[in-house]
Each structure stands twice: as structure tokens, then as C-alpha cells.
Amino acid sequence: MGNLGYLTKEGFRNLKVNKLMSVASITVLFSCLMLIGIAFMLLVNIEAFISGIESENVIMVYVDMEASDYEHIKLGNDLRSLENVAFVEEIDKETAYQEILSDLDEGLKEYLSGLNENPLPDAYRVTISNMEGFEEVVNQIKQLSGIERVYENSTLARQLEGIRNSVTYISLGMIALLLVVSLFIISNTIKVTMFSRRLEISIMKSVGATNSFIRWPFMIEGIIIGLIAGLLAFAAVWGIYEFGLSSFTAVLSSFGTGEKQINFLDYAPYLVAAFVGIGIFTAVFGSATSIRKYLKERKFVELED
């Protein structure tokens, strides 16, 4: 096509012909893409968080309060003698309690120290040397006596995986629904443009313009809609992500892992590509269907008004 310039100009003219419908299609497609983007960034973060805590090779073993000193020491030795254990650190309940107290404010601290009672159990922090055998070590530890509770992050990880799965399914469903809506809206927009330019189309057909020549400006109109919606959605997701990141991180760090922020810009190229791709695909597909139908049904001789 040697007339790309002309056809593109016509495409932009189409957008202006029915501004309202163009804005409507851009908005719907934009919302759809934005939700996709937010869901995606949410999933990426959950994923990173899960793998982060899964890779933490620490198991907390709380000693039974009822256990005797002998049992307490034996447990420590048992833990040290396990295979795949790098080292075992004993955490004295007094030290742990003081640590917690030092974080609290004065009034509460005084009240609690006045009680003279320590609710914490003694604990061992077991560090694993090889992550492969993590589950096995946990199972072995659970066999030992004198244990109140074994706490390891894989439990949390499993719970998070459940959340991740529901987030994935819900967002997939919403995205599919919105894509259908976008397709519908865009194909309607193009239909309206074609109707408002039916005089020109009838002349084009009568002077022997090929169907592809007639089609192109409308395709370009669709592509522009897709492009604008895609870029807007990208900007919006970026903004929302940066804005929401602080609170999001706060929630995550309360689970006890370190700061594992996902940098938005690391994923930006994928998002831009996906947004523009989905936007253009939806727009082209939406316009193509209505154009094909129009060119098939409309004769150029009669122009009913």
C-alpha cells in the first residue's frame, strides 16, 4: 500500500467524526487493560513474596513449657545431630522477651515487666544447609519430644499460594469478560463511524476502490483506539503501583520477611508490549468484524437516510 499516509490521515479523521464513541471505546479498553495490569503486578508481587519466604532456610522450634531442663537440652542436641542442619541457635525466652519489650512504649513496658511473667517459650532457631531437604527436616523435627510447636514459613507460603490462585482465577474471569465488552464496544464504534461515512463509502465503491482500501482507515481507527488505551493503561498501572507500593510492602513485611519490592520498571517492557498488543488485537478484531459485515451488506446504489 503506497497510500499509508493518506489512509492513516483518514483513520484519524474517523476518530474525530464520532468523538464520543471513540472516547467510550478507549475508556472501556483502558479500564480492561488497567485491571489486567493491576492483577498482573499483584500476582508478580505475591509470587516474589512466596518464593522469598520459601527460600528462607530457618525453622523455629518452640520448646514445650512443661519440658524439664534435661528435655530442653536433649532437644537441642537432637536438633544438632539431625542431617542437613547447618547450625542451631538457642533463643532464651528472657532475651526474646526483653527484645519484644524494648520495642513497646514505656507505659506498656512497665506494666508488662511489673507482671513478672514471661509468656514466651524457649526456642531453637534451626538453619538448614540444603533447601532440597527442607520438608524432610521439618518432619524429622516434629518426631522429636519436648516440642510445643514447629514454625516454618512454608505454611505461610502455602496459604499465600491459595490466595494467589483465587486472585488469578478472579482476575482471569474479569479480564475475559472485559475483553468481550471491549470487543463489542469497539466494533460498535467502527459501525457508527462507517454509518456516518456511508456516503463516502458508497462513492468509494462506485468508483472502484478495493475493499481493502475502504477497510484500512477503519482498521487504523481501531488501531489508534487500541494504542491510546494501551498507553493510558500502562501509565495508570505505573501510577497506581508506585502509589500503592508503600502500603503493600508494609503489609508484606509484617509477615516477617525483608523488603522484597518488585521494581515496576523491570516489568514495564512486558506490560507495554502486552497492553499495546492486546489493545491493537482487540481493536483490529473488533473493527474487522463490523467492516466485513458492512461491506457485505451495503450496496452503493441506495443510500437510505
Binding site: 497510500n3 462513492i203 465503491k205 468508483v207 472502484g208 478495493t210 482500501f213 450496496k299
Partner: protein
């Protein structure tokens, strides 16, 4: 050469628009197709433009069989036709120049060629002064001349005019037919559909009269008169409106010939050397 062989057209709704039409229009011929509404004129045109296909029979235009032509070859075929409609079909937000250029742009003509060709066809139609005007600033006759210029823009071999005088005043009607006549003299085949018997009478050309889907008359003045009176007689009996009120076009015909002609509206000034294929290099 356009050839209709045993052409019939029946629409899905049961209307039998054309019945067993046989006719030949030679290259370079000027033909009026006359008939009242419902006579099958528009079906006749649609078949010729390959907008419809006949239910039976075949239509050939210069060895192209329109019943067998491939879909993707239709646009190419239509480029050989110049179609003029009763309602002009000019794009209101484009200037006269752009309206004519539009027909060339949409078939992919280069801008350079368009800039040479458009002023030329406009000058043929006596519209040089109006190139920058918008259609609504022109009279009906001028608008129809723009439409004619557009039909000529792509060097059409066959001009098909569907009631080109339907929306213009009688004098302009005469001038438009006169223009068509000059195009014809320059070698273009012209097929003009009209219901105005009186206009047709001013020109000594072949007239095909359609009535209820059949050709009731085909030929020169004498046969035509007989057929017209036949139709009028029939319409009087059946009380149908067939032939519209007569307009006396002979007055305009004489006016045109007299050198001191001074009409109400400006006469069409066209180039003396009427070469439709010019303006390209």
C-alpha cells in the same frame, strides 16, 4: 460493447424486475434508457455496475462476463465506469477539487497525477472557478457537473448517469445532457437513465424504453414516439402516472444555438477541444 443476453432478474421478495432482456450497446454509443418508476431502470443499472447479478442470462462488458467475474476483480471493473447519481453524492465537507480528487485518491492515484488531472476535468465541465467552493455553495446544475467531473476523473470508458437531471432545473437539465453528448462525441459510451420523455425528444439518440421489466421500444425517434404514446394510452386506462408533465426543452435547445443567448443562470462554458483523456502529461 455491452451485451445483455436473455437477462432476467427476480429479487428475493418476489419482484420480477427484468424479464428476458436482450440488447447490445456499442462502444461510443449514446443511449437513453427511459421508463417510469418500477419499469426496471434501476435494476438495469445495478446489473450493469455489477451491483446485482442476474437471476438468469448473461451480461458482458468488453468481454468481461459480469455473471462470472471474480469478487476481487469487481473494483477494477468499476474503474472503467463513471457513475453519476440523481442526488449528486458529493461529500459536503470537501471542496469541489477534493470531491473530484477523492475518486482518484481512493483507487490509489498519485497526488502528482491528481493535481494535473482534476483541474483538467473541472475545466471540461466549466467549473474551474469553483474548485475551492463547497458543494452546498453551488447550484444543482453545478453540483451535477462536479459529479460528472468526478465520473470522468478516472478516465471512464462508460458513463452511466442515473437520472442526472432529476434534481436540476430544466435549462440545466438540457445543458447536462448537452455535456454528456459532448463526452460521447469524444468517444465515451454514455448510458443515461431518465423518466423525462420530453428531454429525450430534444436529442436524436437511441432510446430504450423499459416498461414492467421488458424492453417495449428500442431505436430512433419514430419508434420511440409510437411507444411513448402507447404507454401514455395504457396509463390513461390504468390511471397510472407514467409520463411526467411535459417540459418544453426545445426552447433551450434553440437558445443554445443562438449566439446572443442570455439565460437566467450562467451558461456552461466548456472547452472547445473536448478531449476527455487529457490532462495527464
Amino acid at each position: 460493447m455491452i451485451q445483455f443476453t436473455n437477462v432476467s432478474k427476480k429479487y428475493d421478495n418476489g419482484t420480477h424486475a427484468l424479464k428476458d432482456i436482450n440488447l447490445t450497446i456499442d462502444k461510443g454509443e449514446f443511449v437513453f434508457v427511459v421508463g417510469s418508476s418500477g419499469a426496471g431502470k434501476s435494476t438495469f443499472l445495478k446489473l450493469m455496475m455489477r451491483e446485482e447479478v442476474p437471476s438468469s442470462g448473461s451480461i458482458t462488458v468488453d468481454d468481461i462476463d459480469l455473471t462470472k467475474i471474480k469478487k476481487r476483480d469487481i473494483p477494477k471493473f468499476r474503474r472503467r465506469l463513471g457513475i453519476v447519481f440523481q442526488d449528486f453524492r458529493l461529500i459536503p465537507n470537501m471542496t469541489v477539487f477534493d470531491n473530484v480528487a477523492f475518486a482518484m485518491r481512493v483507487i490509489g492515484t498519485k497526488e502528482k497525477k491528481i493535481r494535473r488531472r482534476v483541474p483538467y476535468v473541472l475545466s471540461l465541465m466549466g467549473l474551474n472557478e469553483k474548485a475551492r467552493n463547497y458543494p452546498q455553495e453551488l447550484s444543482g446544475g453545478e453540483q451535477q457537473r462536479v459529479a460528472l467531473a468526478r465520473a470522468l476523473a478516472n478516465n471512464a470508458e462508460i458513463i452511466i448517469a442515473d437520472e442526472p437531471t432529476g434534481n436540476v432545473d430544466p435549462q440545466m437539465s438540457y445543458e447536462i445532457v448537452d455535456l454528456l453528448m459532448r463526452l460521447n462525441e469524444a468517444g465515451t459510451t454514455v448510458i443515461m437513465v431518465t423518466h423525462e420523455h420530453s428531454l429525450v425528444r430534444c436529442f436524436d439518440k437511441r432510446v430504450i424504453i423499459l416498461d414492467k421489466g421488458t424492453v417495449v421500444s428500442d431505436g430512433g425517434a419514430l419508434i420511440r414516439e409510437a411507444a411513448t404514446s402507447h404507454i401514455n394510452a395504457v396509463s390513461e386506462i390504468s390511471n397510472e402516472y407514467v409520463v411526467p408533465p411535459e417540459e418544453d426543452y426545445s426552447a433551450y435547445a434553440q437558445d443554445r444555438q443562438s449566439p446572443d443567448y442570455q439565460g437566467d443562470s450562467e451558461p456552461v462554458e466548456v472547452q472547445e477541444d473536448f478531449n476527455v483523456t487529457g490532462g495527464e502529461d
